[in-house]
Structure formats: C-alpha cells, structure tokens
C-alpha cells in the first residue's frame, strides 16, 4: 500500500522539490529493472527530509533524479519551480551547479587539492575569480570548525574532518537544495552525530531544503520528516518529533 504525504508539513513553506508520478528504470527487455515506481513527493524549503529504506529500495536513484543527474522515464520533477526534466542537459548541469550542493558518502574530495581549494570548486565552476573563491572557501571552513585546516590535503584530515570539508564545499555556493547521500556512513557514531548537528546548524536554513539519504537510525532524530522507500515506492512520510518538542 502506498501512503501519501500527511499534513504535518512546515507551515506555509513552498516546495523546493515537487515530484509527481516519477518512474525510473534501468536496462531493457528481460533485464529491465524498474527502480522508482510512481513517486509523489514534496520537499519544502526550511526542512530536512530523511529518505530511508532498505538497500535497493531506490533512495539513491531518487536522489539522482531530484538532482537532475538522471532523467526520469515518466512523471515530472520541479526543483525551485523549474521543470527539471524539460531542461536540456547543459542547462540542467548549470542549474545544478547554481542551486544545489552535494554531500557524498565517500566525501569525493579531490585528493590533490587542499581543503580550501576543494571547498572553492563550486565557486570556480561558477567562474568566481580564484582569489575571491578561496577567500570565501576559507570563511566557510571556519564556519564548519576547520579554520586551522584550510591548507591541509584531504589525506591529512580525519574522516570527520573530510566530511566537514565536504559540507563546506556543498554550502559555499549558498545552494537552495542540499543533497546528502549517506553523509555519516563512513564515520563512527560520535563523528556522524557531529556531522548531522553541523548540517542542521549550518545547512538547514529557512530558504534551503536538505535531503538526506541514510540507513543510520542514530541520526533519524535530526530530520524534520522521514520518507520511507520500499521497492521503488514511498510507503510512508512521517514527521519526526524532536526531543523536547513533543
């Protein structure tokens, strides 16, 4: 049974992401696998939505579709009012660079670049002059508590510090949509929680949505809502009651 969204949404906030009837398959013929089977989902500005579910349930594919990295087979995706599936790839790539930030499970920092240079990449992509980009990157690293590590290479940083750099990189461009794929999977418990605290403190703002794919039940409490995917369908979307607010 597919459950629709319930009414416990951030009051009055517009949807940053609006997905309707999204279907996505891979392969063809006998090997065709349908990963998303008619997803309807709204993600609102100012909220942190957790996407949870079993492995192979379609979480990462949904994330890729929301990011415009994968095209949908059927249905529509609007991000910040822009119909993503109608944009040609070049414009979609540019739109992604201007409006979205990414945090990956494996950090995906460029090993040859210092922390500051890694953080500056989204700005360099937007053709911000290098000096200005590095300055903004250093300031963002200070905000995530790495002001004294700006010239360190990723290999000289701990896993938690690398993920902080990744968060700074994702936020330096002030994106409206922050997409996080298992951001705590490569970290131990305490470090994972610190990262989520940081994401909530620095990443989640009134005019930004944060989408987090996770398996880690220890970090569920940091989200505002939780959408559960099973076999390519959203089977539940529920608000998360924060401690002290129940």
């Amino acid at each position: 049974m597919e459950l629709r969204e319930q009414s416990s949404l951030p009051t009055g906030q517009p949807a940053a992401v609006r997905a309707r009837g999204v279907v996505k398959s891979f392969g063809a013929g006998e090997t065709k696998v349908t990963v998303l089977r008619g997803i309807d989902l709204d993600i609102y500005l100012g909220e942190m939505l957790l996407l949870v579910g079993e492995s192979g349930g379609g979480k990462t594919t949904l994330l890729s579709v929301i990011a415009g990295i994968l095209n949908v087979d059927e249905g529509d995706i609007d991000v910040l009012g822009v119909p993503l599936s109608e944009l040609p790839e070049r414009r979609r790539t540019k739109f992604r660079g201007q409006t979205m930030g990414f945090i990956y499970q494996q950090f995906n920092l460029l090993p040859a670049l210092t922390a500051a240079e890694n953080v500056a990449i989204p700005l360099l992509i937007q053709e911000v002059p290098r000096g200005e980009a590095l300055g903004r990157a250093r300031r963002m690293l200070e905000r995530v508590g790495l002001g004294d590590r700006t010239e360190f290479l990723p290999k000289s940083l701990s896993g938690g510090q690398q993920q902080r750099v990744a968060i700074a990189r994702a936020l330096v461009n002030e994106p409206r949509l922050l997409i996080c794929d298992e951001p705590t999977a490569a970290l131990d418990g305490p470090n994972g929680q610190k990262i989520m605290e940081l994401l909530r403190e620095v990443g989640r703002t009134a005019d930004r949505s944060v989408v987090v794919v996770t398996h880690d039940s220890r970090i569920f409490r940091y989200g505002d809502r939780m959408a559960r995917l099973t076999d390519g369908r959203i089977v539940s979307i529920e608000p998360i009651i924060q401690e002290g607010t129940a």
Binding site: I69, T93, Q106, A112, I125
Partner: protein, 376 residues
C-alpha cells in the same frame, strides 16, 4: 577550472611521474632511434657533404657517390664551356690498398684534388697544414683513417706508407664526417692520385663545378646535362640520390625503418594508454565535478589541458634526454646521431595528435559518464 585541472595533474605525484615517464620514454625512444637512423643516412652521403661543392658532374648512369663510374678527361673542358659555369675542376675518387711499414694492409678511399685550388678539400684540419699536400709524395688522412689504420701510435704526421708500391707521406690530419663504410680516406692531388692508381683508359671520377654568381645551381645542372650528355647534380641532389640508393639497395631502410616505426607505435601507444588510464583512474573525481555543475565542455577543456601539459612536458624532457644521449655517445662523430628539426617537429605533431586522440577517448567516456557514479 584550469587551475583545478593542473592541480589534479600535478597533485598526485606518483601518477603524474608515471605518466611523464611513459611519455618521456616514448619521445626519447623515437627521437633517439630517428636521430641514429638519420645519422646513418648522413654518413652514407658523407663523401658528398665532406667535399662540399655546389655541382657534381658524373657519368649519366651514376647511382651513388661511392660507386664511381669514370668519365672521359675531356669532360672538364666540356663542363667549363657551358655558360653559367664559374669554374670546373677534375676530382678523383677510388679504392686502393695501403701498406703500412708494419706490413699491415688497409683498403682506403683515395681522393684526388685539383692541385691549384684544392677544391673539394675538407673544411677543417686537426693536425698539420692541408696545403702541405702540394709537397712531393704528400697525402692527408681523415681522422677516421688514423683510427682504422692502427691509431696515432701507428700512423700520424710524418708516417710513410705505400700506395700501390709508391710512397705516400702523411702531412696533415683532416676533420671529416665519418662515412657509412668507415673506409679510411687519403687525400692527395689529382695528378698524384692518377700516379698511385693503376692506369685506366678513363681515370676522371667527377667534375666539380660552381655556377656563376646569380646562376641557379639546379638550372645549371640541367644545362650541363643537356649540353654535355653527362650526369649533373647539385650537392644536395647527389646527397639525396645516395641516401635513396642506400635505402633501396641495402636492408637499412627496411630494418631501421621497421625499428623506428615500431618504436613510434609502441611509444605512442604507451603515451596514449598511460594518459587514458590516468583519466579513467580519476573518473570518480570528474564525476563529482560533473555532479557539482561542471559542464562536459569544461571537463573536456580540463582533460585537453592536462593532456597537452603532460604531453609537452614529456616531449621536452624526452627530447632533452635523447639530445644528451646523442651528445655523450656521438660527440666527435664516432656514432651516427643527427637530430634534425624536422624529426623534432614530426615527433611533436605525432605526440600532440596522440594526446588529442587519447584525450578525446577520455572525453567521450566522460561525456557518457553518469555523475550518479559519485553516489555509488
């Protein structure tokens, strides 16, 4: 993003050095083999280049400079009578055996120069005075003759040896480019050369000539051919004719050409494959950049920048190493090594092509790359 591309290239030192070594080795291999090959070709026509005259008049059926076909003595006057010729002199070239005082025999190339002008003489002299060749029984050796005939302890200035039972006295040692066969060259005057060799009906090997000022050498050779029925070539043409003969009639062309071609293919394959692997190994990083909003065109520019940067660096280092190799092994002309700008340009163009091709293959791979790779 050029900054990011270069940091990615230089940042991983192990990968960069591996890539640079592959390209450097490829370039060095091709330049070194190509230069040795060309050095051999230069040696094969050294009789022409050492003589250094504008025009060679020969038997019309001549194949190459060292395969002498004597012509009538009257050829000198016939050439002199052609309008546009400033001067024309007889030139003897032939094989003979020399007998040293220790009883050793050596085959030598005897070169007879017109005595009043000594036209066709080597430009540089290492020991003695070339003009002393005009003294009775005097001969001049090239430096390789000294080496081949036993070294300075056996033969040098003042040494007397026999040419066809007639005495020859060394008065100078000349500096020349080594010949392909490395047969010692003994210079003497034309008249004395004819006394050294057994009498033949035709003794004149070549007529060396020069066009008048303002006269084109190629045009004059055509006129000489037309008026005299003899063969006539500019020095450059005769050199190329000799090289062509060597390539066609010996295994050098095919054997060495095959080696160079294989070196070229292997070298370029190493270069292309190494760079392609470099890109493939960085695929995840490129995927991350693509996910963050880097366009495929920008990624293509980054790849090309990386390819040309490492390609040109490898080219510079490779050419440098090959040049040092040539400088060390071939200094003094002992080994054939001639590095020409044409070879360097050819290798540069080939390297740029292979960099472009391997970068293009990588770009196609990147264009097809789903940035979703970063979520896996």
């Amino acid at each position: 993003m050029n900054y990011v591309a270069l940091k990615m290239l230089f940042g991983d030192r192990a990968k960069y050095l591996m890539l640079l070594c592959g390209l450097t080795f490829a370039v060095m291999l091709i330049v070194q083999q190509g230069s040795i090959f060309w050095g051999l070709m230069m040696w094969s026509q050294s009789s022409v280049s050492n003589t250094n005259v504008p025009i060679w008049v020969t038997d019309p059926g001549i194949a190459q400079v060292d395969e002498v076909k004597p012509i009538a003595d009257t050829a000198v006057d016939r050439v002199r009578s052609v309008s546009g010729v400033e001067w024309a002199v007889p030139h003897y070239r032939g094989l003979l055996r020399a007998r040293l005082s220790n009883g050793d025999y050596h085959q030598i190339t005897l070169v007879g120069l017109e005595s009043s002008t000594l036209i066709g003489r080597p430009a540089e002299v290492l020991e003695g005075r070339f003009e002393d060749i005009l003294q009775p029984e005097a001969v001049v050796l090239d430096q390789w003759a000294v080496e081949r005939m036993g070294g300075p302890s056996v033969i040098g200035i003042g040494t007397i040896f026999e040419l066809n039972d007639k005495l020859a006295r060394v008065v100078a040692i000349a500096k020349t480019r080594k010949s392909f066969t490395n047969i010692p060259v003994v210079y003497t005057t034309y008249e004395r050369a004819l006394r050294y060799v057994p009498r033949e009906r035709r003794a004149l090997s070549y007529v060396l000539a020069k066009p008048r000022d303002g006269m084109d050498a190629t045009e004059l050779t055509a006129r000489i051919r037309e008026r005299t029925g003899l063969g006539a070539f500019t020095g450059e043409e005769f050199g190329w004719k000799t090289i062509g003969w060597v390539l066609k009639n010996t295994g050098i062309g095919i054997n060495f050409g095959t080696t160079i071609l294989l070196g070229f293919i292997v070298g370029m394959a190493i270069a292309g494959q190494t760079f392609y692997l470099f890109t493939v190994e960085n695929l995840r990083q490129f995927g991350a950049l693509k996910a963050m909003g880097t366009s495929t065109a920008t990624l293509a520019r980054m790849i090309l920048l990386q390819a040309f940067t490492v390609g040109l660096t490898g080219y510079g280092v490779g050419v440098g190493l090959a040049t040092i190799f040539g400088f060390i092994t071939a200094s003094g002309g002992g080994l054939p090594f001639v590095e020409t700008w044409q070879l360097l340009l050819l290798v540069l163009v080939a390297l740029l092509i292979i960099c472009t091709v391997s970068a293009s293959i990588s770009i196609v791979k990147l264009a097809r790359l789903e940035p979703a790779i970063v979520f896996r």
